[in-house]
């Protein structure tokens, strides 16, 4: 765990320095008249102190090697999930809710969960259409409109 603690401790230390630096972009003020940068600066300093303590603790922790990934980890599934969420965010307001959701389900069911195409298509249509109707008709909440939605 030692290596991980050192890496994460250094990362948090860098974050805390960034927070402190960014806080000075605002009016920090004084103790008697704190400005808008004052509290963020305090949180940055406190984070800095704790990240140094994490580094100190890391020196004491055991040297046992912990692998980042579990044995036989489904790494591909995890990377693809990130990618598909990003695709969803980028396409949602261009393609409309139903189209993007169908696409997302197809991709995740086929490539992450490993279902057959037929199962993936079934799930994709079922979920996207039912949620679309729940949101637009029952809750009257607008969802992004694309070509498909305009047909209804």
């Amino acid at each position: 765990m030692r290596k991980y603690d050192i890496v994460s401790g250094l990362f948090l230390l860098a974050v805390s320095l960034a927070i402190c630096g960014a806080s000075f972009q605002f009016h920090v003020g004084t103790l008697t008249a704190p400005g808008s940068g004052f509290f963020p600066l305090v949180t940055g300093l406190v984070l800095g102190i704790f990240s140094i303590l994490i580094l100190v603790e890391a020196r004491k922790s055991g040297k046992e090697t912990v692998r980042f990934w579990a044995p036989e980890a489904n790494k591909k599934g995890i990377y693809l999930t990130f990618l598909f969420i990003l695709v969803y965010a980028l396409l949602l307001e261009r393609l409309g809710f139903i189209g993007t959701t169908v696409l997302f389900f197809l991709l995740v069911s086929r490539f992450v969960s490993g279902h057959r195409w037929s199962t993936a298509i079934f799930f994709a249509l079922l979920t996207s259409l039912s949620t679309y109707f729940v949101f637009t008709i029952l809750l009257r909440a607008p969802l992004p409109q694309g070509i498909l939605e305009r047909m209804f």
């Binding site: 994460s8 974050v15 103790l31 999930t81 965010a89 979920t127």
Partner: protein, 500 residues
């Protein structure tokens, strides 16, 4: 007299068909997700947050509370039948519950855990009703320094009780406090850390952050290693515990209720701490400790009662002091905020219908849960056969839907994704999500109290130590912070990771 009229008001609130319906939906969903391993109450409630936006506040809080205590019932089912805790709180139930199932006594194990949960849940609600109003009246006298010290104590406690490193927890809490400052500053009207992105003016959304951290992060962790398990006993019969079972379980249930209630009052006092405490006490007072771990019914009854009493007691610090005691309470805190309600001492006074309505709903909900969990156990067992490969796309989709629909904003999806990656890495590097979320949701309150205290004292930090209540809270926080350096950390109590 006031007391009884309040209860009567509470029950009249629950009796409204809408509230009754959402109470039922809450406990039903709670049982379902409690049964399903890999989906806990934390992510579920955060996924439903946008939906609560469309409901009236009372119905939505009744539902959210139902999910929370309902999940505790459901979680024990998988512990007993599969030896897999449906929720982290049910780990202890595996020890003797699964052994009972192997001996063909799954029925009484499930039965006593449901009845024990019911008794404890009901008593905890009674305690909530008696303690909360008095505590809230006391807390009304708190000024900014007391509030600030209380928040510091709460953050220290939640990290003290956690299984991992306390410094890591406190680092996460300070990061959470910082993240809460993004957006328009309420004091000076200056936009902070917005970097020209207008969608950040309102701050980082609570929903995308929580959904990312708990929902997406959880799915990714589950995707990495797939769970596979065999159901030990497909047909469950004889759910009603025998007279001897009752005799063996009576005192464990009573003790479990008390332990669970008091642990639940403490920030960080999650179900897991109280269940471990109850289990070790039962083992110590038992005349036959050698039977523990081999199917002793006391080892199921005590911890299950403790677990549910904790769930009820968790609401006390939230409703009276405005302190979320664990990850899920932080999410409930957020759902109150979304509904325009500020959790804290004013809540009971200003929103009596909400407070008493939610309390009354807990009595009703507990009755519903016993009915749902005992006769219908066969249905829940069948849900266990749904493979995670079917659940994962669904959960991910609900995460996307939840994060997007609150403000209909694509940037929220990106925030969710970033926190999803962060949540996944946090699990890998052994950091806990609860302190971060807690710091994040109380950030505005902490900043307000801190700045006002400094203004009151003319810039002197001694104000936190010259006022008696504040001083007491600060010293307590300091002691809890120093103790782990001397190796005094309640490791045996396990973690406060209630984030499912």
């Amino acid at each position: 007299m006031d007391f009884f009229s309040n209860i009567a008001m509470g029950f009249s609130v629950v009796a409204e068909p809408m509230n009754l319906l959402f109470c039922f939906v809450g406990v039903l969903l709670g049982t379902l997700i409690g049964v399903l391993p890999g989906l806990g109450p934390g992510p579920t409630i955060s996924l439903l947050l946008p939906l609560t936006y469309y409901l009236n506040p009372i119905s939505s809080i009744i539902m959210v509370a139902g999910i929370y205590y309902g999940a505790k019932y459901g979680g024990s089912t998988t512990s007993i039948l599969l030896n897999i805790p449906g929720e982290v709180d049910s780990v202890v139930t595996c020890l003797d519950g699964y052994q009972m199932a192997r001996q063909g006594r799954a029925g009484p194990a499930l039965g006593i855990s449901a009845f024990g949960s019911f008794i404890a849940g009901t008593f905890a609600t009674l305690g909530l009703m008696l303690v909360a109003p008095a505590l809230a009246r006391f807390a009304l006298r708190f000024g900014p320094p007391e509030i600030f010290s209380l928040m510091v104590l709460a953050l220290t406690l939640i990290t003290y009780m956690s299984s991992g490193s306390q410094v890591k927890g406190l680092a996460m809490a300070s990061l959470g406090l910082f993240l809460g400052t993004v957006g328009l500053d309420i004091f000076t009207n200056v936009d902070r850390f917005v970097f020209g992105y207008n969608f950040l003016l309102e701050g980082l959304g609570i929903v995308p952050v929580i959904v990312g951290l708990f929902g997406v992060g959880e799915v990714l962790s589950n995707l990495e290693v797939q769970l596979r398990a065999e159901i030990y006993q497909k047909r469950v019969s004889h759910l009603l515990p025998s007279l001897k079972d009752w005799k063996d379980s009576f005192w464990p249930i009573i003790r479990g209720t008390f332990i669970g209630f008091f642990v639940g009052l403490l920030p960080g006092g999650g179900g897991i701490a109280s269940t471990f405490a109850s289990y070790s006490i039962e083992k110590r007072v038992s005349k036959h400790p050698e039977k523990f771990g081999k199917g002793a019914i006391e080892g199921v009854a005590g911890p299950e009662a403790a677990n549910n009493a904790t769930a009820g007691a968790n609401f006390i610090p939230l409703m009276t002091l405005g302190i979320p005691t664990n990850g899920i309470m932080a999410i409930i805190f957020a759902s109150l905020l979304i509904n325009g309600l500020q959790p804290g001492p004013m809540l009971i006074r200003d929103q009596p219908a909400l407070f008493w309505g939610v309390i009354a709903s807990m009595y009703v909900g507990n009755v519903m849960l016993v009915i749902l969990n005992l006769p219908l156990i066969g249905i829940w067992v069948r849900f266990l056969t749904i493979p995670y490969s079917v659940l994962a796309p669904l959960i991910l989709f609900f995460c996307l839907l939840g994060a997007y629909t609150l403000k209909n904003a694509v940037p929220d999806l990106i925030i969710m994704l970033i926190f999803g990656i962060f949540g996944f890495l946090m699990r890998k590097f052994r950091y806990e999500g609860a302190p971060l979320i807690m710091g994040f949701v109380i950030s505005e309150l902490v900043e307000g109290a801190f700045i006002r205290s400094l203004l009151m004292s003319g810039g002197s930090f001694t104000i936190f130590f010259t006022r008696p209540i504040s001083c007491f809270l600060m010293i307590l926080a300091l002691i809890l912070f120093i103790l782990p350096f001397f190796g005094k950390k309640p490791r045996a109590l396990g973690s406060s990771r209630d984030d499912g």
